[in-house]
Symmetry: C2
Subunit: 420 residues, 2 copies
């Protein structure tokens, strides 16, 4: 199946106007790569039947699997369904189950009208993907040697529907099962990971292994093909173990999305909590952690101390000490972590102070950040120098990653201080 070329065709004028970003194409591509399907093209076209028709003709020539996002539902006259069905010589027929569901929905909602019933019209013989996250159903069919899957455009409908229906539909097409796992890495970059494994990777056929850079960390993806999922898993296991052994403390998890997710898991296991005192990150660490549902079991809160005044008023830092050492200093970072831990009663206190730019304070270079952690009577401080070429958003995000990494290391018994 991995030899089948795939194109993701997104339909929506708002994408071409730049009003929204095509996150669907990214999310679907990542999920497809996870089951070993290669995406060769993304195309975006507006809500225009003629241009969509032309794009479908191009896509069917160069791809075997065609996945559409958007252009379903009443506001666009079910454009995508109409054009795709016609292109593959299929009629649209009424799906009774979807029709009943839509009737119920309309009678319980003031936002929808009889217009919406057209959504129950689907290509004859297709597999219907019921939309539990919205109203427009998706579908899949095979015709003319091609495989076509259609999903609605809103990401919160498209992505869960693809996870629930798309993955298994595509898996079922093949007697070969493809499984992929990602080893997540923080502390060394993608090119260093590449250097370490270059020779091995070149020699690998199945499973394969490839490193990828994320914004502030990286990952190594291991992919195996086999007759069954279990067999593929068994092929990956020793490779993953080898990678973890070789990279050691740089590995923060497998198949996790980010450092904070790994930290939440560790805190829950140990029944520990933390609190934050953020200066230059301005609430970013708290925000990121509380993006995860269930964060409240491990995070009590903390302070955003953006000025020297609030460092003193909320966290009781000594104004003379701040004056003497400077807001961006080892001492202030240390006091932030210690004081927020005491104030909140959390097990771990995290502090961050630094220069996210664009302006310097005249003393330090932009990109200078102190990240601290107070726990069990000891305070650890990392001094970071990220370089003046980094953006404000990178510096803030990377500072957060260091805070999470310090917690992860302490929670797993690793050395917290590392050389950057």
């Amino acid at each position: 199946m991995s030899q089948l070329n795939t194109e993701v065709l997104s339909v929506g004028t708002e994408l071409l106007l730049g009003h929204i970003t095509n996150t669907d194409a990214r999310d679907l591509s990542e999920l497809l790569s996870g089951i070993g399907i290669n995406v060769k093209y993304h195309t975006v076209v507006g809500d225009n039947p003629e241009r969509l028709r032309a794009c479908v003709q191009i896509a069917r020539k160069r791809a075997d699997i065609l996945i559409t996002t958007g252009g379903l539902g009443p506001t666009c006259d079910d454009l995508t369904k109409q054009v795709l069905a016609e292109a593959f010589g299929l009629r649209l027929v009424q799906d009774e189950a979807e029709l009943r569901g839509l009737y119920d929905y309309i009678h319980n909602s003031s936002h929808y009208t009889e217009n919406n019933l057209s959504q129950a019209m689907l290509p004859e013989g297709c597999t219907v993907f019921h939309n539990k996250w919205g109203t427009a159903p998706g579908c899949a069919f095979r015709a003319d040697g091609k495989i076509v899957l259609m999903f609605p455009g809103p990401p919160k409908e498209c992505v869960p529907m693809f996870r629930e229906y798309g993955i298994s539909y595509l898996r079922a097409l093949s007697d070969e099962q493809i499984v992929s796992h990602s080893v997540r890495i923080f502390g060394i970059g993608e090119s260093a990971v590449d250097d370490i494994f270059a020779e091995e990777m070149n020699a690998m056929v199945n499973p394969t292994m490839a490193p990828y850079a994320k914004e502030c960390d990286c990952l190594l993806q291991i992919t195996a093909k086999a007759k069954s999922e279990a067999e593929a898993e068994a092929m990956i296991r020793p490779v993953a173990e080898h990678v973890k052994e070789r990279l050691g403390e740089w590995v923060y998890g497998t198949d996790v999305e980010c450092l904070e997710e790994a930290v939440l898991q560790l805190l829950l296991e140990r029944r520990l909590t933390f609190a934050t005192a953020e200066s230059c990150t301005g609430g970013e660490i708290a925000k990121r952690f509380t993006d995860i549902p269930g964060a409240s079991s491990a995070f009590v809160g903390g302070a955003v101390v953006y000025t020297n005044g609030t460092k003193a008023r909320i966290l009781g830092l000594d104004p003379d000490m701040i004056e003497e050492k400077g807001a961006v200093s080892y001492e202030v970072a240390k006091a932030l972590a210690e004081n927020v831990r005491t104030l909140t009663g959390a097990d771990i206190g995290i502090g961050v102070t630094g220069l996210a730019g664009p302006d310097s304070d005249g003393v330090h270079e932009v990109g200078t950040v102190f990240v601290s952690m107070a726990v069990e009577g000891r305070t650890y401080v990392r001094e970071l120098h990220m370089g003046t070429k980094r953006t404000r958003s990178f510096i803030r995000r990377m500072s957060g990653n260091h805070a999470f990494d310090m917690m992860r290391r302490w929670l797993t018994g690793l050395k917290v201080e590392i050389v950057i």
Copy 2:
């Protein structure tokens, strides 16, 4: 010029693997739409000369302006430049100024090698876009009746380069100047805006007007074409005034990116500061505000009080009151705003408490949020019910927008309480 069809062709295997999102296409499309150029297609293709060549052939058939992002620089062997130059029958020749610049860069940097010098090879006769944000230069040329522009892939190079060179290069091609302004709206939705202006918009030819939905607010874009920029501006002015008069207090700014940007401006003008006490938003309001450089002049900091314990410990809320009224209540919201204002000494205190989901507290529905503002001896509270179908991230973001909207309204002398 607005009749010229444009295609944005992004080159990069990492986009097809879903490791990064194609924000370049979005950002460029928005900037292009601002000068009245219609983008008709986005295409993404991997780092593969054969497939890129085929995509270029398709693009030159259906578009007049072809803008590439990515595939410049040494890591991809300057793929895009090679393929595009060849497709339009141009040789690559050495650009002396770029070569000198690269020599200097290499001698001052440990990361680059002689390999990088190939970046100074550019299509003969092209306009060179010097890259002040990285090393790979961009360029533009006209050939075979088509206009081709190339930019590097990293967003922090691509977008500023397009702003600096792309916009003026494209403007200079036309004797018609196109100007566009966006009136930003919060408090009523895009469809309501559409209803209000539908008849007028249908009758408009030049300027034109169109509403667009953003995640938690919306905008009305007004675009005029004229012989000069000044003339186009003069044509837009009365329309913008009319829109602002008609929509009144729902308009929070023109050509601003978000509510927090408008609020920062207002706070700076009045030399006022604010502080935040965030429960369910978990630092999101502080984080969003401090994303803006210069936020420290108007934002002192505050508390993230994710548990009842921190509401009491950091902000001194009465635990019995929290127990009696519930953490998600009018009274707790009120106390959050008032206490954080007192604690920090800021002019305005903001409080947020609510249920962002996915789990309910058994008392309130997910999407119930109280947003409060304490200022000049008075406290305002908005009670929001966003519905149980909203995502955690929407509820958190929308709560933040309400906090910023309350400040905006108070700062501009409008009524703060509105009916949701």
